[in-house]
């Protein structure tokens, strides 16, 4: 944990200093969760749909190799150029090469968490390429030099006054303006110009269809479509786990995705790409970046079933009260906390502990990923591999020693009760993290065992 500049707990403490803002954040995300419930309750077969989504994805994991080969063959026949990237840097380099080949130094991009994972924007900036994110929330955080704090609602950590200030500075909107309609209009005008002048556009991929060699991109704003239909080159970046066997399986996933995400019955646009339009070039980059490794971990491979709806974020009591940036990773929330340790255990060892293990994430997951169980399992792995702070592992180790010896347990209990009663400052101080937020309980006169033994004795007499 020493490698983390600021861990989840410390970042959350920072986030919680503005209590009114935390309350707003908490309530707003819970509102999104409630909208999800309303949408879900209208579908009597919801649980069967989740099971279908889960089983299709289980099948995909078990047949990944053949599905990807079938997809590559079909997509190539469709006139799409397929690239394979083993890691983030190869992915970024492929994009840079395409841009150089086109002789351009700027690009428009719609939402792609994979490019966040690969740090594409920073890489291209260093190489002198200007990237503009076209999703409104992503554009807002990009202008502020931040990263998305939520995979579906990238700017959910900001208030309208923050956005107003940012737009005043970057787009010349009126100072103090906070009306979302007015601010969105300003972004619309600014980004229309971007769409009309960029020759290369990048999108993510929600689903790639092995049977037909095409892919689906879902947006509400229409920004992915605006970007690619006006550009000469369309680049689509996908993690290989986005593959599904057949188009008819989209019936399941498109019914699950938006309802789980925002409570909409479907996103405004669900665009199916199979061939470049006349005169256009289309590239797909299939990315590994740690996914093959995750596929090989039986306890954690199910995390690759994720369809990025963020239902687990919205329902998570820890996420809602700590904010996405506390997770210091491209994908925050419960699902991010089981994906990130696979990429780098040392840097992300704090994340599986950012949970109460309440299980709400697993209950809302549209493809039935056992998220809270994986969080629990990651904790074991991280302790075993020595990635947990010495204080935490020392505490756990001493607890193990005490609990494994009955006489030691009894003596320790007696000593504890004596100290808490006679020298309360030993526990009632700020070194005790428990005491920071609570009063210590009153000390019982005797232990349960002592009480039980004297009761038994009384019975006999």
């Amino acid at each position: 944990m020493n490698n983390i500049r600021i861990d989840h707990a410390s970042a959350s403490t920072e986030f919680n200093k503005d209590e009114a803002h935390v309350d707003w954040h908490d309530e707003t995300l819970w509102f999104v969760r409630s909208k999800r419930d309303k949408a879900v309750f209208q579908i009597p077969e919801w649980e069967q749909l989740r099971e279908a989504g889960s089983q299709i994805k289980n099948h995909v994991l078990s047949n990944m190799h053949d599905l990807l080969i079938a997809f590559e063959e079909k997509a190539t026949q469709n006139g799409i150029k397929i690239h394979w990237a083993a890691d983030a840097s190869e992915h970024n380099q492929i994009i840079l090469d395409i841009l150089k080949n086109e002789g351009v130094n700027r690009m428009v991009k719609s939402k792609s968490m994979l490019t966040e994972e690969c740090n594409l924007n920073e890489f291209l900036k260093e190489k002198g390429i200007g990237v503009i994110d076209s999703d409104l929330g992503e554009r807002i955080v990009q202008m502020r030099g931040e990263h998305p704090s939520h995979i579906v609602l990238p700017a959910i950590h900001l208030k309208r006054s923050d956005v107003g200030e940012t737009f005043h500075e970057h787009l010349g909107t009126e100072k103090g303006a906070t009306d979302p309609q007015y601010l969105t209009e300003a972004a619309r005008l600014h980004l229309r110009d971007t769409f009309l002048t960029r020759k290369v556009a990048l999108t993510g991929v929600n689903f790639a269809i092995a049977e037909t060699g095409g892919f689906v991109v879902c947006t509400n704003e229409g920004n992915a479509d605006m970007g690619v239909h006006l550009a000469d080159v369309h680049i689509a970046s996908m993690g290989f786990e986005k593959i599904i066997p057949k188009a008819e399986h989209l019936g399941v996933f498109l019914r699950l995705l938006a309802r789980s995400a925002t409570g909409q019955p479907i996103t405004t646009f669900s665009s199916h790409f199979h061939k470049p339009r006349a005169g256009q070039a289309m590239h797909i980059i299939i990315v590994d970046n740690g996914r093959t490794k995750q596929l090989g971990r039986p306890d954690f491979r199910n995390s690759l079933k994720c369809i990025r709806c963020a239902a687990c974020f919205n329902t998570c009591p820890v996420y809602r009260r700590s904010g996405g940036h506390s997770y210091h990773t491209a994908i925050a929330g419960p699902i991010g906390s089981i994906l990130a340790p696979n990429l780098n255990m040392a840097e992300n060892a704090d994340l599986p502990f950012a949970s109460t293990l309440c299980g709400s994430c697993s209950n809302v997951c549209p493809v039935k990923i056992d998220i809270h169980e994986q969080l629990y399992k990651w904790r074991q792995v991280l302790v075993q591999e020595g990635h947990v702070s010495s204080v935490k592992s020392l505490g756990i180790k001493s607890m193990a020693t005490v609990l494994s010896s009955p006489s030691f347990y009894r003596t320790a209990g007696k000593l504890g009760r004596f100290l808490m009663k006679n020298t309360p400052f030993v526990t009632n101080n700020n070194l005790n993290v428990w005491y920071q937020h609570r009063e210590m309980p009153d000390v019982p006169k005797e232990s349960f065992r002592e009480w039980y033994l004297s009761r038994e004795k009384g019975k006999k007499e």
């Binding site: 469709n78 704003e221 019955p265 490794k293 596929l295």
Partner: protein, 194 residues
């Protein structure tokens, strides 16, 4: 070894044992009145359904609601008299001027008000997004119950591009306040021919 070979061989080594796909993944949705469900859902997602008897009625409605609006284009021959903007253009960038596009949809889906629009009827892929306002014409008998029926009906690779459109473009990225008209159309009317 290329990255392709490296990735594929690791996948082969690491993927779990083959698991047959034998789960039921198609479900029935039952609605008393398909059109009413479609129209309700469309209004929930920010669009508006207008039931019309014929193309004459569509023309009358467009003339009434878009009075004085210039730069109107349509892909539907029956409505060509409404158009003052030709879609016979060299570059899709020229569509930036467009105020209203009236296009044909293949079919609608009652559960989510999605309409399938594809290159079969679209001369330019960007047309439904770049126009300031969008109108789609579908036939009442072409309203299906749910997405399972939709994918039975559509062959997604029949053309190079097709999309389900459900309502006008929208965003709630500023404090979760819904704003209609993000980057795509600011309004959507669906004319449903009896």
């Amino acid at each position: 070894m290329t990255s392709r070979e490296k990735i594929l061989s690791s996948i082969k080594k690491n993927q779990p044992d083959y698991q047959e796909l034998n789960v039921n993944f198609k479900f029935e949705s039952v609605f008393e009145d398909l059109y009413a469900k479609f129209a309700d859902t469309l209004s929930f997602v920010g669009g508006k359904a207008v039931e019309v008897a014929d193309y004459v009625a569509i023309k009358a409605d467009v003339k009434e609601h878009y009075q004085g609006v210039l730069n109107i284009a349509t892909t539907i021959p029956e409505l060509s008299e409404l158009a003052d903007f030709s879609l016979n253009i060299d570059s899709p960038h020229e569509l930036e001027m467009l105020n209203l596009a009236i296009i044909e949809g293949d079919f609608g889906v009652a559960e989510n008000a999605a309409i399938w629009v594809s290159e079969k009827h679209l001369p330019h892929r960007v047309l439904p997004m770049i126009t300031q306002y969008l109108a789609i014409v579908i036939h009442k008998k072409h309203i299906l119950t749910n997405m399972h029926r939709a994918y039975e009906r559509v062959q997604v690779n029949e053309t190079g591009f097709g999309t389900f459109i459900s309502g006008p473009s929208k965003t709630a990225d500023i404090e979760q306040s819904l704003v209609i008209g993000a980057h795509g159309a600011r309004g959507l009317v669906v004319y449903v021919l009896a």
